[in-house]
């Protein structure tokens, strides 16, 4: 009876539980946006993070008025939290496009129900990242000078500078991620348009759905374009954090000047990105009751990616240490020993514990299936990755070649406020997103339901 005549009802394939039809999938996900009443936990989160967003804006205003002297940065540590936060956020922003592009090309079924909100996470994280280099400028109102445009000053960007590459990489990454995300949203926006009851919602979703009606030829082109975007986004994902790492690696500062940096940064980016996916997925599926779509299998797979990328990161740490001693370069050796024993040693050892030691519990299946543990671990990993960025940025700078130019960096209240503010703003954007757009791709879930039936029949 299954297959030909009756409409498909999903079978349990691990990444999707049994009993879901096209209609019930569509209704479940779109009702989260269209009909679900606003409840107090969401409201509390919304207003709490909104307060944090206002604080972020206020602190930014104060920063623009007073200058970056309100932070702890000075010579020699001219790159403080702002740059560490930038690298951290852009790293978090890597998992979304990794999930939607690379896992699509690899035909991983578990990407289907997590790609939409992971892409949204990417957009918001990359937006936070993009702000920090601007906040960090002494004269932020001239930030556009890094873009090439014909101007009356007759100057052009310095194309041999990784900072210029960085601008292009981040801008391209944000734009392509947005295109990818929006394109995937169009059929779902059409679903919302057709299911909305209020005129306002029909109009708004209808405008953004661009008149999508699910014609077969449109779908064929859509599929081609989606695959092509995935194909070109794949090297893009890898390029972005590689370019970010070159901001450091091209400098000759001990602790920056290392050829392992590009792959090591990319691995770290995926590591923190998947941690953030877990941080968001676990409360999301609990709040919206999405246990049939975001199953324990998803969490298990994400945990395995965490374990694998964590191993790359650990390898990166080991290589840095090995190369410092193997090179025989006294400055590299001094820098490494200072990491172990110097002023920032507590940060370094906490980072090692959080990023290398603690994730090893994921070798055990029971740990990967223990949801509270995974949630706690994801927070630990993100904290650990932030400490890694701080170690690289701050510790390397504070003791360079000349003892006379050594100095210490101590973050001020404003450093912490702006870090907390960016986290709040990110969370606020995400909370808004889950109430106005489908957090899971509806059309791809329908396809998954169909495939689950076919798989059973085959």
């Amino acid at each position: 009876m299954a297959g030909l005549k009756s409409p498909a009802v999903s079978r349990d394939i691990g990444v999707l539980h049994a009993g879901w039809s096209y209609a019930s999938i569509s209704d479940k996900i779109s009702d989260l946006v269209l009909t679900r009443p606003v409840r107090w936990p969401w409201l509390a989160g919304f207003f709490g993070t909104f307060a944090g967003t206002l604080m972020f804006l206020g602190a930014t205003g104060y920063l623009f008025a007073k200058g970056i002297g309100i932070w702890g940065v000075d010579i020699p540590v001219a790159w403080g939290f702002a740059i560490a936060n930038f690298v951290w956020w852009i790293g978090i922003g890597h998992a979304g496009t990794f999930i939607s592009a690379i896992l699509l090309l690899l035909r991983q079924k578990w990407r289907t129900s997590i790609n939409r909100f992971a892409e949204a996470m990417t957009l918001f994280a990359a937006s936070m990242a993009g702000l920090f280099p601007i906040l960090h400028l002494g004269r932020p109102w001239f930030f556009y000078w890094i873009a090439p445009y014909p101007d009356h000053m007759n100057v052009w960007p310095q194309w041999r500078s990784p900072l210029v590459w960085d601008f292009f990489a981040i801008a391209t990454y944000l734009t392509v991620s947005l295109l990818f995300w929006y394109m995937g949203l169009v059929p779902d926006l059409a679903t919302l348009r057709d299911r909305a009851h209020s005129r306002f919602k029909q109009l708004t979703y209808g405008l953004f759905a661009l008149g999508w009606r699910g014609e077969a030829r449109h779908w064929a082109r859509f599929e081609t374009a989606y695959l092509l975007l995935a194909g070109i986004a794949t090297p893009l994902v890898v390029s972005v954090h590689s370019v970010v790492s070159l901001d450091f690696a091209i400098g000759n500062t001990p602790g920056y000047h290392s050829t392992i940096f590009p792959p090591y940064f990319v691995a770290g980016a995926l590591f923190s990105g998947f941690a953030m996916v877990l941080t968001l997925a676990i409360p999301l599926r609990k709040a919206f009751g999405l246990y049939d779509f975001i199953t324990d299998v998803h969490l298990d797979h994400a945990a395995k990616v965490l374990l694998a990328t964590g191993a790359f990161v650990a390898y990166g740490y080991a290589t840095e240490i090995f190369m410092a001693f193997y090179s025989g370069d006294r400055y590299e050796i001094a820098m490494t020993i200072d990491r172990w024993t110097g002023a920032y040693a507590p940060v370094y050892w906490t980072m090692m514990t959080f990023n290398v030691l603690v994730p090893q519990v994921l070798w055990f299946r029971r740990a990967r299936r223990c949801v509270p543990l995974l949630f706690a671990l994801s927070l630990v990993v993100n904290a650990g990755m932030w400490m890694e960025r701080v170690t690289i940025v701050v510790q390397s700078l504070h003791k360079d070649f000349l003892p006379s130019s050594w100095g210490i960096f101590i973050p001020t209240m404003w450093d912490w406020i702006i870090l907390a503010g960016s986290i709040s703003t990110f969370a606020w954007l995400f909370l808004v997103f889950i109430r106005v757009l489908p957090a899971i791709s509806i059309s791809e879930m329908r396809l998954l339901a169909r495939e689950s039936v076919k798989e059973q029949a085959a």
Binding site: L4, K5, S6, P7, A8, Y22, A23, S26, P148, N154, W156, Q158, W159, R160, P162, V164, W165, F168, A169, A171, T172, T175, V176, L179, M183, P187, A190, T191, R193, D194, R195, L207, L210, G211, W212, R213, G214, E215, A216, R217, H218, W219, A220, R221, F222, E223, T224, A225, L228, L229, I232, A233, L236, S239, L246, S443, E444, R446, L447, R450
Partner: protein, 176 residues
């Protein structure tokens, strides 16, 4: 057949729609359209869809972005604003690779999305189908096949008979 845009048949499953699409194609319909809530593999091909120009335009966009990105750097660094830094070559092309790559990706991505929408005639916010009964289910759980009046093979009576012979859930006229 004035004021009619087409005949719309509704099906419950994707497989029925693919079968129906093949049948109307065999019956000589060139402009028949099918609508589904997700991408059904082989459906467009069953209706005679052959020329997918999205890959070509994506390639063109990537080429344009890459060449444009490189030219921008070469022109500004060599011709318009040459800066002599310890006698190093002005045309230091390996250093131009990252931006060239990013611009190629950007060009290809824009071209892919724009080509996809443009070739499909989107955005098109008004369409006769949106007024058809139950067509809102095309984005939920139902599968539709439409024989257009402007199709050379269209004939009011025979087209309806053909659709009825496919055992749709319902078959209605779409007003123009």
């Amino acid at each position: 057949m004035k004021n009619v845009w087409g005949l719309l048949a509704e099906f419950a499953t994707a497989d029925e729609l693919v079968t129906a699409a093949k049948r109307v194609r065999e019956a000589g319909y060139q402009r028949a359209e099918a609508y589904s809530p997700f991408h059904v593999d082989g459906l467009a091909e069953a209706l005679g869809f052959e020329r997918n120009r999205v890959p070509f335009f994506t390639f063109l966009g990537g080429l344009f972005g890459g060449i444009g990105g490189f030219y921008l750097q070469w022109y500004s660094a060599v011709v318009d604003y040459p800066v002599n830094i310890a006698g190093r070559p002005l045309d230091s092309w390996p250093m131009f690779v990252p931006v060239t790559f990013e611009m190629a990706v950007l060009g290809a991505a824009f071209a892919a999305v724009i080509a996809m929408f443009a070739a499909s005639g989107l955005p098109q916010l008004r369409h006769p189908l949106f007024a058809a009964p139950e067509f809102d289910l095309a984005t939920r759980n139902r599968f539709f096949l439409c024989l257009r009046v402007d199709d050379a093979a269209f004939d009011a009576r025979r087209s309806r008979e053909l659709l009825e012979s496919l055992h749709p859930m319902r078959c209605v006229e779409v007003k123009a």
